[in-house]
Every structure is written in C-alpha cells, then in structure tokens.
Symmetry: D2
Subunit: 163 residues, 4 copies
C-alpha cells in the first residue's frame, strides 16, 4: 500500500457547469468525491495547488507545481493538469530530478460531463504512480510517456510520442 | 506502448439493466464503449470468456479463465471478474505461474449505474498490467494485492490483505 | 402555480444499487434530489407512503395509496408507482372518485441507472397533474391514459390502451 | 394520444462538449436520443429550426421560430429554446395568436452535463402541450407561465412572474 498525493491544478478534468453564467468554470475540486466513488482504501492526500485552465498557466504557475511536488512527503504523486500545456509543466518538474514518481494526467472531457475520461485517467495515473520507477511521466490515452518524450496532438486531441 | 488484452468474465462490472425483466442481467460487454470513453490509443484486445456472476463460477469456469490467460499472445492482461470469487480465480491463475502480468479487477457498482467504480478500476488495472513485474494480482480499491495475499471483506465490500 | 403532492410507493423508479448485497433495493427516496435537479420553484410536498416492488403490493397496500390521496390537502397529486401493477392501483383510486387530479407514473429503468426514463416521466406527470381535469390517470411513454382505459404490455414494456 | 412537434432552436438544453475545442458547442440535436430514453410511444416530429445560443438570436431568428410554429401541422408544439431570451421569442409567437398550444422550454444545465434539468423539462413541456388550451406558454421550474406574464430572473436563474 503506497501513500499517494494528488496535486490538483484544475484543467478540463475539474471544470463544472455554472448554470447562472452558462459556462464551464472552476468551483471546488471533484477529487474527494471521485476517490469516494473509486472506493479507495489507501491514504491519498489531496492538495489544491491552483484551479486554472492550463492555457493560462505562467512560468510562475508551473514553478508552483514543481514546489508542491518537492514539498510532498509522499513518494507517489499524481498531478491533475490541463492537457494543453501538461507536457510543458511535466518538463519543468522532470528537469528538477526530484527522485519521486510523479505522474501527470488530466481529461479531455470534464468529470461532470457525460462520457468523461476523468475517472479512467485518474485510476490509470494512480496505479502508475504506485508502480513506476522514480521519474516524471504523462499518463493519458491508456498510455504512459516519459516527460521528455511526449506532446499533445491538438488536432486529434491525443498524446503522442514527441517532441 | 504495451499491447494488452482484457479478458471479460462478467461480474458486477458488466451488468446492465433489463427494463422488461426489471433486473440486472448480462447483455453484451460494455468494454468496447468504455475503452472509447477512455480515449485509449494503445492496442487492446477484448475477449469475452464468459459473462456470469462470479458466485456461480465453477472450478471448470475458473480453468477457462486460466486457459484464456495462457493462450493470450500479450504479456499484459486484465481480467474483469466478479468480486465475490475474484480471489479464488486469481489463485487458480497465480498457481499456474504463466510468466505474464495478469491483473484481476471488477466493480462494486455496475458501469451502467450512477456512482460506479468500473471506469476507475479499469484504468487502475490497465496501468498495473503495463507496469508490474510478471505475476498475478488483484487491483481493487486503488490498491494492488498479490494473488495469494488478498481476500474480499464481504461485510464492508472492500479487498483487504488476506487470507 | 399549483401546489402539488408526490406520493411515493417505490417501484423501479426509486430503486438503488446496494453494493454490498449486489442488487437493486429500496433505500430512501430519490425524490427530494430529483426535484432539486428539476429546479422546481413550486411548492411540492413529498410523502413516502411505502417503498415496495409493485408486484408485491397487496389489496391493503393499494388502499393505503387511496387513503393517502384522500387525505392530501392538494388538488394535484402524482403517485410514483411500480409499473407492473400501476393500472390496478389506479383502478382502486379511480373508482373512489375523489374529485382531485391524480396522475400515476413510474419508470422502466431506475433513476440511478444510465438511460433512465424517471426524470422525464416525473416532469410529464407533474405537468399533467397541474393541467388535467379532476380524475385519475396513468402517464407513461409520453402519453396520458384514463385509469380505466390502460394496461401494461409486459412483453414490450409499454403502456397501451386497455383493458 | 396527441401528435406533437418539437421545434429545436438550440440553447443550453442541446449543447455538447467539444473535446478538441474544449468548450460547449452545438453539434447535432440530442432530441431523438432523449425521446428514445423517455420511451415515448406517441408520434412526435422533431424539427431543427436553428442551433444557436439564445443570446445571439436576432429578430429575424425569432420570426423563423414563429414561421415554424405556423407551418406545423400539429396542434401541440414544444419549442426548445435558450433560457436567456425565451420570454422574448414566446412574446413574438404569442402575439401572432396561432390558435395552437405552443410551450417553450429549455434547460439551465445541458442534457450532456451531470445534474441536467433537460429531461424533466422536456417531459413537463410535452405534457403541457398535450393538455393546455390553445395559447403560448413558458414551462420551466416545474411551472407553467402564460407568454405575457413571465421573465427570467437572471440572478437566481429561475423564471418568475413578469414582466
């Protein structure tokens, strides 16, 4: 049983529908509800680092993710991140060589929308974080990529070997 | 990218509601739809081995699962199984020492029912199958168990170290 | 704005999945949550009369539904009922000529299961109760039937003119 | 059994998530799938008049809705419309005195998003269209309003007596 930490940064994964504004926004994170739905019995700390669209992430925002990974007492970390700049933040964390297992994941369809890939991706990422060797990875599309060998194909909306 | 095989045996995971009979039954497997929802881009073969409630599984049924695992050309295998006798079938497969990674998973709530753990568990099991060393495992409750060190606590409905 | 009452008797509409027993059972009614989801702003009283499968309803159970309809202070009443014997209970209430609008509805697929007709049917029945003349009706399949001119076709799972 | 027509204009009701663009857009209408889910057995024609956000509707767009209502051979009509200017279009149709029952409805949360009011509202509106006297109505929040006595309270996101 591997104690794990989920660092939440927002992204499509965690967007919810605001009925008054009529648009998808960030409220509070869905992660506690999702872990209950997953019937998890392992200790998983949830840390909301930021709640933003990854297209709006600055270099400073990425450093905040890095610092959260560095500060985490757990060896197994999942970062929930928007897909558009997931590979960029993974690079920032990867180059820091923290000696932990850090797995980035997200969703192409929000958890709150029909047909979401969020639950699957979270399960996939949590298992990856428990089993892989120390390093930084992107886990999307049922596939694990090293941080320096991945990019998002924005036309097809899938992660592919890169850059 | 690790080619994988999902061997479907039924269980709660794959039950669907029959509106005429007014009960949960087995129709066809949800797995192809689920992998599309997961936005998987890796080659995953889906094999329907049987579609039954694991409480009704006979020794012969378990051998059929074992034979499917043996026959599979892939190294990474996920078996979708009812939770009630998952540990028993895992034992049959585990004792055969097939030299592959074989991960059993299932669901406490059917995929077709609100609040299901099926999507999460499938993601968790597929990542485990891609990353673990050869062996037979049960992956439930966000946790990985060796086949000979797990039992289902039927009162709480969770998998715990055992027997 | 017509004050309304929903009398809950159970049926498929309100079944929920019990993960420990592995079957659909009755817990507490979903009606308060459903009315919130419907964003209702009218006064609707919810009364749990019984929570059973309508196949198990006795003559006495049907009289309990009749008495609840009689006692209700509201003029517009919706009865949530299992579909199998909905027409029988509607007959018991219809013959009593209570001088109120009483609309029976239910669901072929539970609210908690994917693809449920429960939300649609409840909306349909509530509007019927607000707009029809005094009388007893069955509202299913987007269609309104007088209590003495309806039966369930159990082969196709739809309500049709009858008996 | 009252033959009915659903005239689709878009609005929140029918928005779907575009995973590539990362936003809610209009694809094709969900209405055929919804009527199947509702298990409707009555003849209901579905007509896509336009698929737009009602905030973007011009006077000309509203006339297109009016002309569709006028041309419809059915006596019972439901118009699926964005909530923001639903009352304005209802006014245009109401003043034309077409001698049919025309019920406007929509949704505060898209059909494709968790917790949607779309299914309930559609059931509510279809029953209203089958049962009300000729006239033009807005049916939202489990409540029926005459076209000239309703406005949307945009702060609370509910329809209230007005103007």
């Amino acid at each position: 049983m591997t104690a794990s930490r989920i660092i939440v940064t927002g992204g499509t994964f965690d967007k919810q529908y605001d009925a008054i504004k009529g648009e998808l926004t960030f409220g509070s994170t869905h992660l506690p509800a999702i872990l209950e739905q997953a019937r998890s019995t392992i200790p998983i700390a949830i840390e909301v680092n930021q709640l933003i669209d990854s297209l709006h992430m600055t270099a400073e925002d990425r450093v905040r993710v890095l610092e959260a990974c560095r500060a985490a007492p757990e060896q197994a970390i999942v970062v929930i991140h928007g897909t558009d700049t997931m590979a960029e933040t993974a690079r920032v964390v990867g180059e820091a060589k923290l000696g932990k297992v850090i797995v980035f994941t997200g969703a192409m369809i929000p958890y709150a929308v029909q047909g979401s890939d969020a639950l699957f991706n979270l399960g996939f990422a949590l298992a990856s974080a428990q089993t892989l060797a120390a390093g930084v990875y992107v886990a999307m599309n049922a596939r694990i990529f090293a941080w320096d060998k991945v990019r998002k194909d924005k036309v097809d909306g899938v992660f592919v070997p890169g850059p």
